[in-house]
């Protein structure tokens, strides 16, 4: 029984990590009772499980992952969705719409639409299948998508969401972080949006350094103070008004539980969801993106279908 690495040491493929009764996990392989690294990354020991945290890599789907994707093909009752990485995902209409639905499913979502979905099955024989029956899984109609390396996503989220919650809290933006390295951001104005992008890029560049949350926080607070100073007169940050479209209110009436039991791959401790207390604050932000008004008309049909379905769950 011996461990041959320091905590969070940078290891290279083929490096002997441990010998004895240890368990090989992500980023490692075993040969008899010896465990070697299979990746360049940071070695970690949790209990008797040896793991290497990857620093690079493409997105490989896992069941239960939240992903953001772009629809690339619409077939009879399937959407093919680009979720990054080597595999094109399929989303069957039954997993997204409530029956009965129109034969022409492109009326609901069409090529080029960006969606938030969940990986419901992936076994390497049949490509990843997506579902949109969970809470908050929907077509994304405003905001923007930022792409970063999927290997850095755990850092963007932080332990129990500490990083992402901090960013949302300070910037008062809405985000969704897909495990496939895509982040959806909606901010109240361009300056804040740019700042959010800067923050995420900063996390990506410095993902394997210490005290990152503190540094990002300091940076954001300084920058926000600058923006505030310039635009104080518009007091757009202090305005907790604006009731969003009321037709959506039924959406929140009955929360639909989404996969509580995350398929925890080796080495990862399941963490129960923590409903962030900040969400109210974010909800109150005035959203002055002009599209909202115009889109309401065209979308109403589709959103209603989806909404009803969610409630019925």
């Amino acid at each position: 029984m011996a461990v041959y690495f320091q905590k969070r040491e940078v290891v290279v493929p083929g490096q002997l990590l441990a010998e004895g009764r240890y368990r090989a996990s992500f980023g490692t392989y075993d040969d008899g009772d010896r465990i070697y690294s299979a990746l360049v990354g940071l070695a970690e020991l949790r209990g008797n499980t040896v793991k290497v945290v990857a620093l690079e890599g493409v997105y490989i789907p896992r069941e239960g992952d939240l992903v953001l994707g772009t629809i690339t093909i619409v077939t009879g009752n399937n959407w093919k969705v680009d979720i990054g990485g080597p595999y094109l995902a399929s989303l069957h209409a039954n997993n997204a719409l409530r029956r009965p639905y129109d034969d022409d499913i492109s009326r609901y979502m069409d090529i080029g639409d960006v969606i938030a979905a969940e990986v419901i099955a992936f076994d390497r024989v049949t490509g990843p299948f997506l579902g949109m029956k969970g809470r908050g899984l929907r077509r994304l109609d405003s905001g923007m998508i930022l792409e970063i390396s999927p290997a850095k996503i755990p850092r963007v989220i932080g332990r129990r969401g500490s990083m992402i919650n901090m960013i949302q809290d300070i910037l008062r933006i809405q985000t969704m972080v897909g495990q496939n390295g895509r982040i959806w951001i909606r901010a109240s104005n361009i300056e804040v949006m740019r700042l959010a992008i800067k923050a995420f890029k900063m996390i990506e560049a410095q993902a394997h350094t210490s005290r990152l949350t503190d540094r990002v926080k300091t940076m954001l607070e300084e920058e926000m103070a600058n923006i505030h100073g310039e635009e104080m007169s518009e007091d757009m940050f202090e305005e907790p008004t604006d009731i969003e479209d009321s037709k959506e209110s039924e959406d929140i009436a009955e929360p639909v539980e989404l996969v509580e039991d995350e398929d925890t791959a080796e080495g990862e401790e399941p963490v129960k969801p923590e409903k962030s207390p900040k969400t109210e604050a974010v909800d109150e932000i005035k959203d002055d993106s002009p599209e909202d008004a115009t889109e309401e008309e065209t979308e109403s049909e589709e959103t209603e279908t989806e909404t009803k379905e969610e409630v019925s769950e």
């Binding site: 905590k7 969070r8 040491e9 940078v10 290279v12 493929p13 083929g14 980023g27 070697y36 299979a38 990746l39 360049v40 940071l42 990857a54 690079e56 890599g57 493409v58 490989i60 939240l66 990485g85 080597p86 595999y87 390497r124 024989v125 969970g134 809470r135 908050g136 929907r138 405003s142 755990p154 989220i157 932080g158 332990r159 969401g161 500490s162 990083m163 949302q168 809405q174 969704m176 972080v177 394997h208 350094t209 210490s210 949350t213 969003e244 479209d245 959506e248 959406d251 929140i252 989404l258 995350e262 791959a265 990862e268 401790e269 399941p270 963490v271 969801p273 962030s276 969400t279 909800d283």
Partner: protein
Amino acid sequence: MSPEVKPDSLLNAEGLRFDGRRIDELRPVQMEVGVLKTADGSASIRQGKTYILAAVYGPRELHPRHLTLNDRAFLRVVYRMATFSVPDRKRPAPSRREREISMVIANALQPVLFLEQYPKAVIDVFIQVIQADGGTRCAAINAASLALADAGIPMRSLVPSVAVGKAEGTLIVDLGDEEDKYGEGDVPLAILPGTNELTLLQQDGSFTREELMEAMQMGINACKYLHELQKDALKRSYSKKAPEGEDDDDEMDDYDDDLETDLGEADIMEDE
């Protein structure tokens, strides 16, 4: 490049080679990881005057589709020489030699990759010889395995590779261009440093059984040294990216591959 002249002798009276190396001495080797911005992983190697770039893309979707392997990823290696890499302009069309070396490199790298983890996908390795001065296939393997590691592709180990040759009856390690041309033979080999298994072994020229065994042993020793250089190059590229090092444990521990945390934000979506 000046017109080539055949050196009078490849080995001098003191047992040194015409460029001053000992018989078991490598040319100066410099490896660098992460040299190309657009590739998922990349590396460069300078070995004497040989200069090679390797870029890795993937695993990604495989086109054309008919090449798909259902149980594992396809490893596609493309070895190309620049037109200006050799004294006489190399014609830019892919040559038979390039195709063969591509295959040989793919076969040398395949055993270390966990290709079965990415069925139906492709891992592309592009190797471009910028300047050729002997030993390009071995240098290419060294660079390609670094680039694969840099791309975050799981592998059993790095693959060091070197050529051993014969000049005037003496075995010499890491042939330069002249030694390759005017020597009596050449044995390129690549090993898995953990187990000393060979993943590449070719021979050109004639060797006795004893010479071949001796050549392989010399090659394995040189590969062990190259392996150290490879590990060093990889670690160097990542410590450069981490200026503050990985010192304290408490804060670094604060992230988790966790789904629920971000789904928690789904609450926010209620306004649309």
